[in-house]
């Protein structure tokens, strides 16, 4: 089997597996979020945190709960890092510097997992496990909770109630993320990923140098890193590290894990609104965008013209030989299409056009399929904007799932759409405008600019992957990217919940042949088209000066 054939088998088998799993998993999540009963563990948790699980919240209360929970999470995580030398299992590491600690705390709470530090040489076991790993679960659960609350806005009628954040958070963690992560960890351990609590080994390498090898609960963190679209690796090399991702098939498993929940949530959405076909339409939009992106990335990597790539038949720089070009490109596309940001190859070394696709993946707002939860609500916002323009063209006040898209709804959806591009462009502009901030850049020319653009795109969209090539471990970058991550996460969440609130209040308009059908290929094509056009228009000048300037000859 040639490497290209193997690559195609790899990609197609992943898509088939996702197609097979998304129905049962989506149905399962539907049952989790609509179940009446609480299990004993959950009741215990509600008692401890003092929450009445039967009480429903309106959108503002739901949003306040999300924000309060996230604020406390940031503070705890910050405290853990700053005090790690006084806590257990610190492996003797010093406290993390303040700007790095802030950046890391925000990064993990926002599901970004941008890492301005090198994991194995900065943080001890306690911080990694009870700080970062816990956030890997709950930050993902927050995303799912918000998505479900948003869907309830469509599904419910004439009510202010959007569910209970604490219940959604607990269930997402305990009933969805935890069991799948445990399964995933076992599979990964079987595949050779390490899982231990040993002290670091000091070994002498073949060339006679000294190297410290850190062990740790890697497999367990690896599973949730991917499943929760977090991306924060145990090791700095992330999924390119042989302890995190030893073989081609663990690579397959990891990509599967990072796509599976986001691709299944549209099914949950379809079930919750009582129209499975709406779920199929959303997943179809995601799939079309994803397949186009994966194809484009792979094509750019395989077919790039250049002295070295042509000599070795593909752009293999920065990729692990045990994965190869296609599997690496698939991983890179998947990680930027979701909000994962874990990497198994070095994105900075990608061909300029391949890198441009990765950038564009994030610029789409990470909706194909996006982060757990955030992908679904991001895609639904795009659907709302599409419905508005298309709905006018059929001569009715636009409506989506029977809910009218009026001034308030379009205001919230437009603001949502404004947030991340504004953060990306303004952040990059500030970074490029001053000599002092430009000092972090290790490269000049269009590639140097691409690296800065990538950093702000990744942070604002809560991705977390990096092009590298810039010293981000500076107070400016730590603070600015931290702010981008925080605003890029919580402003959209507030807007989404506000939108859910105004949708839930409406009585749905019954469907007729005069209603714009939102489940047909026609509509799917429109969402894809509008998304691509809007994003391309927004970022075209920036892309033209970065990857396009570099890549078009």
């Amino acid at each position: 089997m040639s490497s290209t054939t193997a690559g195609i088998v790899f990609i197609v088998s992943l898509l088939v597996a996702l197609a097979l799993v998304h129905v049962p998993l989506g149905d399962y999540m539907y049952r989790v979020f609509s179940a009446r009963k609480h299990n004993r563990l959950e009741r215990g948790i509600y008692k401890v945190i003092g929450v009445d699980p039967e009480a429903e919240q309106k959108w503002s209360v739901y949003a306040k709960s999300v924000l309060a929970f996230s604020l406390i999470s940031v503070l705890v995580l910050y405290g853990f890092q700053r005090l790690q030398d006084k806590l257990f299992l610190s492996l003797g590491f010093a406290p993390v510097p303040d700007h790095v600690a802030w950046n890391t705390a925000v990064s993990f709470v926002t599901n970004t997992n941008w890492q301005a530090y090198s994991g194995e040489s900065t943080m001890g076991y306690l911080v990694q496990m009870s700080g970062l790993a816990v956030q890997n679960f709950v930050s993902a659960a927050v995303g799912m909770a918000v998505a479900i609350a948003f869907v309830r806005g469509f599904a419910r009628r004439k009510t202010e109630d959007l569910g209970n954040f604490w219940v959604d958070l607990t269930r997402a963690t305990l009933r969805i993320l935890l069991p799948i992560a445990v399964l995933g960890a076992i599979v990964l351990i079987a595949g050779g990923v390490v899982q231990n609590f040993t002290d670091p080994h000091a070994v002498t390498t073949l060339t006679g140098g000294q190297q410290t090898i850190t062990g740790g609960a890697v497999a367990s963190q690896e599973a949730i890193k991917d499943l929760g679209t977090n991306g924060g690796g145990y090791y700095n090399a992330n999924s390119a590290h042989p302890f995190e991702n030893p073989t081609a098939w663990t690579n397959w498993v990891e990509i599967f894990l990072l796509l599976v929940i986001s691709f299944s949530l549209p099914r949950t959405f379809g079930r919750l609104v009582g129209q499975k076909r709406q779920g199929y339409a959303i997943v179809a939009v995601m799939a079309v965008l994803a397949i186009v992106s994966i194809t484009a990335t792979t094509a750019a990597q395989v077919a790039h013209h250049g002295t070295v790539p042509e000599a070795v038949a593909a752009a293999s720089e920065g990729t692990e030989q045990r994965f190869g070009i296609v599997d690496s490109a698939m991983f890179a596309a998947s990680t930027t299409l979701t909000s994962t940001g874990s990497v198994n190859s070095f994105h900075d070394s990608y061909t300029s056009l391949g890198g441009a696709v990765l950038l564009l993946n994030m610029m789409l707002g990470e909706v194909a399929p996006g982060g757990v939860g955030s992908g679904l609500y991001g895609m639904l916002i795009l659907a709302v904007i599409t419905v508005f323009v298309a709905g006018l063209m059929v001569g009715r006040t636009p409506e989506f799932l029977g809910k009218k898209i009026g001034p308030r709804e379009i205001k919230l959806a437009s603001l949502y759409f404004l947030v991340t591009p504004a953060l990306v462009l303004i952040g990059s502009a500030i970074a490029m405008a001053f000599a002092k901030t430009r000092a972090s850049m290790l490269n000049s020319g269009p590639h140097g600019f691409s690296e800065v653009l990538y950093a702000f795109t990744s942070a604002s969209n809560n991705n977390g992957s990096a092009f590298a090539g810039i010293t981000v471990n500076t107070p400016f970058y730590d603070t600015a990217l931290g702010l981008c991550m925080a605003f890029g996460r919580f402003l959209p969440i507030i807007l989404v919940l506000a939108l859910a609130g105004s949708l839930a209040k409406q009585a749905p308009v019954p469907e007729s042949v005069g209603t714009l059908p939102t489940h047909r290929p026609q509509f799917i094509g429109m969402v894809v088209g509008l998304t691509l056009v809007l994003v391309a228009l927004t970022f075209f000048p920036a892309l033209a000066l970065g990857p396009l300037a570099e890549g078009i000859h």
Binding site: G395, P407, H553
Partner: protein
């Protein structure tokens, strides 16, 4: 059973008669005439209402300053075309408003200063003392008298008398109409003229708030408030404007960095050491923000209202027009809307030994003196179907005509010892029995059969030579107007349910509903039932439209999302509804729905077009900006524009010209054929989406071909 609709019935869809406004869409005279108004609108306080165009105006001002400091053909041309962009946008609005103003002037002529003859202490039948007061001083509740040749001084209801009134001032219809006290034709409008007789009118308007005042405000656009969809669209356009503002402004540090990295590259008009030049930056921004739809948005709204006025419908708010496009359910009165309004003979069914011809003859004889529409229709039918010459009552010298009486419920004729009677089945059967005749059971079957099919049976009986017998039954039938079924099919294709409202019993209603092709019916409907039905529909999230004219329709008209009152109706009805049809044509509702839809489609189509245009403009401007830095970007210059300057200028010119080119479309509305949402979307997507992508590539290229020879470029 089904009887075909009468072919000679007047076709329901009357083509709209352009009455007041001229139909010419965009004659150059109108454009030129609106130019001063368009220039006046450059005032930033006016532009403020249109954020997209305000940005363009600010850009134009800045460009002018830059061009003045550094004169070149390029900078001057860009400044000029940016100003033209703003002026073209204002022109669109001014033209739309201008059409309304012409109508308002006609209306103002009707609102002459009249003197009212106010009656003091009027009571029915009481002696009258009157005083003359200026019409403007009339208060609500005042009683005035108007006689032939005088102008009615204000809106009100006739409380005494009957008169023919010339309402051409507001309806444009020269045929006079009858206005009388009581009933549903009691409302009169100020400014109309009494042609005959004398009426006493109770004034219902407040001073300065007459119907004509409302009309003037409406057609002038003074009272125009933005509708919910228009507000929503404005928000989306503002958001897009902000995004493109951010995208162009943040480009500056990127460009400076790129320029600094290529020290060998010479400065150009577009790019120097300070980044992209101000003029080019503004050009890029103006080309990207949705100026096309931003420029035409208010013109579309004004023109939508105008189209209604052209069809003689006055919408009291733009919101109502928009709601008309959203309507899910149409409530239509049966009589006058779906059917012709009176029953007509459609068959003669003989009973017993009687022949068809005998029955036809008897039916005709008994109806000769019957001047009711039903009676006339029997004579007409006998002539058409049986060739019976219409005899005149006068030629039958010995005939003694028996008029219809409520007690007997029969009418007929006594002729040479032969007595003929026609009437309700039980009445005629009773009459036959009283004269010793036997009523055969076949009659019952025939009568029941007609009733079951929704018709009305009229039985004809005879006493001849002392022998009484039933001759047969006349089948009277509601005749559905021609073309109604097609219209309801169109409605259904648009997803609108039509409900027929009738006072008939359910059986009759069902038969007519089936024949007319409505989706459902409300039988034995009382005004309360209508109200309850509307509430039930609204409860389910549906929007309901209805027409009405009577005072007892008023609550339902107010409750409905779109309530169209007939101009002939009472003031209560006109006040309760949110539209008034000056032609008093209940089928107009269907046109109103179509206009509402067309309004929304026009907005959506031009928005799509506007956004789609941006793709080509990027391909024109971005390579032009940076090709000196990165020669590879010339690959993006797929239109092969001759120079960076001509590329930028072509994009700006195209952007301005497309506004002018689309003004007719904005005023006329995009073509609308009733069909399903899916089909409509496909069509508009291809036309305005795909067309919007392709058109500017061609347009910009053509302009570039023309202007590349401009000296100084």
């Amino acid at each position: 059973m089904s009887t075909p609709t009468l072919q000679h019935a007047p076709a329901a869809p009357q083509p709209p008669k352009p009455r007041r406004a001229t139909g010419g869409l965009l004659d150059p005279g109108m454009l030129a005439g609106s130019l001063p108004a368009a220039v006046r609108k450059l005032d930033p306080r006016v532009m403020w209402r249109n954020p997209v165009m305000l940005i363009v105006e600010i850009g134009a001002v800045w460009t002018t300053i830059l061009a003045a400091r550094d004169l070149s053909a390029f900078s001057v041309l860009i400044a000029v075309w940016l100003w033209l962009t703003v002026v073209f946008a204002n022109l669109a609005e001014a033209v739309a408003e201008g059409r309304g103003k012409a109508q308002a002037d006609t209306l103002r002529n009707a609102k002459k200063d009249t003197t009212a003859r106010r009656l003091l202490g009027w009571k029915p039948g009481a002696d009258l003392s009157e005083e003359d007061v200026p019409a403007a001083q009339l208060q609500q509740g005042d009683i005035v008298v108007v006689e032939a040749g005088q102008i009615i001084p204000g809106d009100g209801d006739v409380i005494e008398g009957i008169a023919s009134v010339d309402e051409s001032a507001i309806t444009g219809e020269s045929a006079p109409v009858i206005r009388e006290s009581g009933g549903d034709r009691s409302a009169v409008t100020g400014g109309t003229k009494v042609l005959s007789d004398r009426i006493v009118v109770r004034i219902t308007q407040k001073p300065g708030e007459s119907f004509i005042d409302a009309m003037i405000a409406l057609v002038e656009g003074a009272a125009r408030q933005k509708t919910p969809n228009e507000i929503a669209l404005n928000i989306l356009l503002s958001a897009l404007t902000i995004i493109f503002l951010v995208a162009t402004v943040t480009m500056q540090p990127f460009a400076i960095f790129a320029k600094a990295n290529n020290p060998g590259v010479l400065d150009t008009t577009a790019l120097d050491g300070n980044g992209v030049t101000g003029i080019v930056m503004v050009s890029l921004l103006v080309c990207l923000i949705p100026t096309t739809i931003g420029a035409l948005l208010s013109a579309i709204g004004i023109a939508g209202m105008d189209r209604l006025v052209q069809r003689n419908v006055l919408a009291m708010s733009g919101r109502a027009v928009e709601a008309a496009g959203d309507v899910n359910t149409l409530l239509l009165d049966k009589t006058g809307t779906i059917t012709l309004g009176n029953r007509q003979a459609s068959a003669f069914l003989p009973v017993g030994t009687t022949t068809q011809d005998q029955l036809a003859d008897a039916a005709q004889l008994s109806s000769l003196a019957d001047e009711t529409p039903e009676g006339r229709s029997i004579v007409v039918y006998a002539k058409q179907a049986y060739g019976l010459r219409e005899r005149h009552p006068g030629e039958l010298a010995h005939a003694q005509w028996i008029p219809f009486a409520a007690q007997t419920r029969m009418s007929g004729v006594d002729l040479d010892g032969r007595q003929l009677r026609k009437g309700a089945a039980s009445a005629v059967a009773g009459w036959v029995r009283d004269h010793g005749g036997v009523v055969s059971p076949a009659l019952g079957d025939a009568v029941d059969g007609i009733s079951a099919s929704g018709g009305t049976p009229l039985v004809v009986g005879e006493v001849s030579n002392g022998q009484a017998r039933v001759l047969g039954v006349i089948h009277l039938k509601d005749v559905v107007k021609a073309g109604m079924r097609e219209r309801f099919d169109h409605m259904r294709a648009m997803g609108i349910r039509t409900i027929m409202v009738t006072g008939d019993n359910p059986m009759t209603a069902k038969a007519i509903a089936a024949e007319a092709g409505v989706d459902d019916f409300l039988a034995e409907a009382k005004p309360e039932d209508k109200m309850a039905f509307i509430k039930k529909e609204q409860e389910g999230g549906r929007l309901v439209a209805m027409t009405g004219d009577g005072t007892n329709d008023a609550p339902a008209l107010a409750q409905a999302d779109v309530g169209v009152a007939m101009n002939t109706g009472t003031s209560a009805a006109k006040e309760a509804g949110n539209m008034v049809d000056l032609d008093s044509d209940p089928t107009k509702l269907i046109e109103i729905v179509e206009i509402g839809k067309q309004l929304l489609i026009t907005r959506g189509a031009l928005t799509t077009f506007s956004i789609a245009n941006d793709i080509a403009k990027y391909f024109a401007i971005i390579p032009a900006l940076f090709v000196t830095l990165y020669p590879g970007l010339d690959a993006l210059n797929i239109m092969r524009l001759s120079s960076p300057q001509s590329a930028i200028l072509s994009a700006v010119i195209f952007n301005a010209l497309v506004i002018i080119a689309l003004i007719p479309l904005a005023l006329r509305g995009v073509q609308y054929k009733p069909s399903s949402a899916s089909k409509l979307l496909s069509r508009n997507l291809y036309l305005y989406g795909l067309g919007g992508v392709i058109a500017p590539f061609i347009g910009i290229k053509l302009i570039d071909l023309l202007i590349q020879f401009t000296p100084g470029l």
